[in-house]
Symmetry: C2
Subunit: 158 residues, 2 copies
DNA sequence: GACAACTCGGACATCTGTTGTCCGAAACAG
DNA sequence: CTGTTTCGGACAACAGATGTCCGAGTTGTC
């Protein structure tokens, strides 16, 4: 699992509380991470259509839709790629005791088990929205936390 | 996700049907994969205590316990490592707006969401045993499939 | 009891994917 | 129109996975 997923999720939560575009460099400052690498993750979010990038003098990133409509799975797939983590090599069709192709109309039992597990994983991530995360943050660190971060981002909290 | 997991699972299913030790080289022949690399995966299974290795002239690998008691999760953790795929970097405690340590007694919301999803994934893998996989194989390719493979392994099916 | 053959086990290269960095293209504000 | 600020994709460095090899140990045989 790519470590950039964590950064992207934190950025999405932060972007919940702002209405003005926020540059990638500012987000990197806030989290004390590499600005160049964070930019790459934000590009992935932009490509996936989760955030909208505006260029120019007062540019930056903004969420494209309501945080309620952005799931954690969306972010994970945008950054880590949509493909399943487990890929079946179909080794049942190889070797001296290979299964005949006409018997391989459905995925093999091992592939089914792994795919089923990944499906539950995806369902769990799909059931949590970025808005839920933001709500939990407020609950964990006190109401007004995100408002404070938003203020820091807007003003020159350098 | 390591691709060797697939190999290890296939080997465990095959080992279901044998009582004599099977060398790694023979298993590699059966699946038409690299013998040296498969040996590494089997070593991991041995280290985890899922299979027992016997050396010497008629040596090889055997399951240490009934296939009913070996879950898919056991194999995945043995080969891929037990650690969670997502590791929280605690970036909430970094940067100018860092959360105070006394507020960080519990994992952050993002970490909780990811951990919960992984927990469901693990539960799904834990609910499937190697015996279940063997049963599915018999159901998919006809009863007696594993017996045929066992015979090929035992006799010099070269 | 000694020998020989066969097996596993860990140490050694190679290679793809992630991590990290940089500069050019585009766009907004003045 | 120009300068500044921003994103976007192309370019290296590193790590883990992939693949390979030979030595230590054990078993069966003579």
């Amino acid at each position: 699992m790519s470590g950039g997923v964590e950064w992207a999720l934190h950025c999405c939560v932060v972007l919940t509380s702002v209405t003005e575009p926020v540059p990638a460099a500012r987000l990197a400052q806030l989290h004390a991470v590499s600005p160049s690498y964070l930019a790459k993750q934000l590009q992935a979010l932009s490509r996936a259509g989760l955030v909208r990038s505006v260029q120019g003098n007062a540019g930056g990133y903004v969420l494209t839709r309501s945080p309620e409509l952005i799931t954690v799975l969306d972010v994970v797939e945008a950054v880590d790629g949509p493909g399943p983590a487990f890929s079946c090599t179909e080794i049942r069709q190889r070797g001296p005791m290979a299964a005949p192709p006409q018997s391989c109309t459905v995925p093999c039992a091992i592939s089914r088990a792994m795919a089923g597990a990944e499906a539950t994983w995806r369902d769990a991530l799909r059931s949590v929205s970025v808005a839920d995360l933001a709500r939990d943050v407020e609950s964990d660190y006190g109401s007004g936390t995100l408002a404070g971060i938003s203020a820091w981002l807007g003003t020159g909290g350098r």
